[in-house]
């Protein structure tokens, strides 16, 4: 039986690590770089990216 993680925040991409805790954080200062990291992470992890505003993107497995 295959075991998968569901409904979990897998990672966060932010401009300031102080804004996030408890999940793996990837820091990127500018928007383009955040978008690129988020895109790669979402495709690698087969998860969706949501924008929490204030420069924080989260990668969520639904």
């Amino acid at each position: 039986m295959e075991v998968t993680i569901q409904k979990a925040v897998l990672a966060a991409i932010t401009d300031d690590p102080a804004k996030v805790s408890g999940v793996p954080v990837f820091v990127a200062q500018d928007d383009d770089s955040r978008q690129k990291k988020a895109l790669y992470l979402s495709r690698i992890l087969q998860a969706a990216v949501h924008d929490l505003g204030d420069g924080v993107l989260i990668v969520v497995k639904h």
């Binding site: 978008q35 988020a38 895109l39 690698i44 990216v49 949501h50 924008d51």
Partner: protein, 319 residues
């Protein structure tokens, strides 16, 4: 028993014809494979034979036939389990799953079809035994039509108004009409969605329709049907393009979001209208005693559900 050969033969034939008539294979029906067809045809022969043999046996006062008949009926209960297992096994690899409610509903339909075959075959044999071939055929046809009417499936279009609604991306939020679907963080995906996504809004016609649309299994069934017809631009690593159906809690309306291969708005609406109402999802407020005052309330002063007004009101001006 040789004098009953005609009754058994005719019952078997008409029962089998009934099974063939019910072996439709449209966009959502399973089976669509030759082996699926043959399985159901052979099972249909057994069911028709069981129904056809019972009547002559009873005419011969062979009461043990009743016991055997019950045993056979018990066997056909396993059809539901067979269909359920088979569809559940495929479920993990579906881009847009059917959902367990839909699977249960399909499995139940398949089980019922065998009971119909048994009853049609028995009715035909009864007609033959009583009078002639023609009486048998009439009996079989009448019973078949009666059971078809009895098992008629309601569709979503009867309990909800389905209208096209534009998919818009505002900031990072994706909306269908005035209903929020989700927040999308990737710029690239937002552009893809605003270029290719289509949407629809379902406004319930009454309280029962609202309850039906509220059921997550029903919504998943709608998405599966729509996606199987129009195709979906989704892969395992792009879950943001998976179709979704979100409910507007103020009014009970449901917004459907889909990124199809064929960008055909009219086909989406038609598919949503034609989705069967699942038995487990059917709104049943009117069937309960406690639901009666609610229904009376809706007639005497409560506004109809739906519309854009937070308190209800008919209409669907959500563009």
């Amino acid at each position: 028993m040789s004098q009953h050969g005609g009754a058994v033969g005719l019952g078997l034939l008409v029962g089998l014809l009934a099974r063939v008539a019910m072996l439709r294979s449209d966009y959502r029906q399973y089976p669509t494979y030759p082996h699926g067809y043959s399985t159901h045809l052979f099972m249909g022969i057994f069911a028709a034979l069981a129904g056809a043999v019972t009547i002559p046996a009873l005419f011969e006062k062979e009461w043990t036939a009743v016991t055997f008949f019950l045993l056979v009926a018990e066997q056909f209960r396993s059809i539901r389990g067979m269909e359920r297992d088979s569809l559940k096994a495929l479920e993990d690899n579906e881009l847009v799953p059917r959902g367990s409610e839909y699977i249960e509903s399909i499995a139940r339909v398949f089980e019922t079809r065998y009971y119909i075959v048994i009853v049609v075959a028995a009715a035909t044999a009864l007609g033959f035994e009583m009078q002639s071939v023609w009486t048998g055929l009439v009996f079989g046809a009448v019973v078949f039509m009666w059971t078809v009417l009895l098992t008629r499936v309601e569709v979503i279009g009867e309990s909800a108004i389905v209208e096209a609604a534009p998919v818009t991306v505002r900031g990072s939020d994706v909306w269908v009409g005035d209903i929020h679907i989700f927040s999308m963080g990737l710029r690239q995906s937002r552009e893809f969605i605003s270029e290719r996504a289509i949407g629809a809004i379902l406004t319930p016609k009454n309280d029962e329709g609202r309850d039906t649309l509220a059921n997550p299994g029903q919504r998943q069934a709608m998405l599966h049907d729509a996606a199987s017809m129009l195709g979906v631009r989704v892969d395992l690593d792009t879950p943001e393009f998976a179709p979704q159906a979100k409910r507007d809690l103020r009014t009970g309306r449901v917004a459907v979001y889909l990124v199809p291969m064929e960008r055909d708005q009219a086909a989406l609406i038609e598919m949503l209208r034609r989705t069967p109402v699942l038995e487990s999802a059917r709104g049943r407020a009117r069937f309960l005693k406690a639901g009666h005052p609610a229904k009376r309330g809706s007639r005497t002063g409560r506004k109809e559900v739906g519309g854009n007004d937070s308190e209800g009101g008919s209409g669907g001006n959500h563009r």
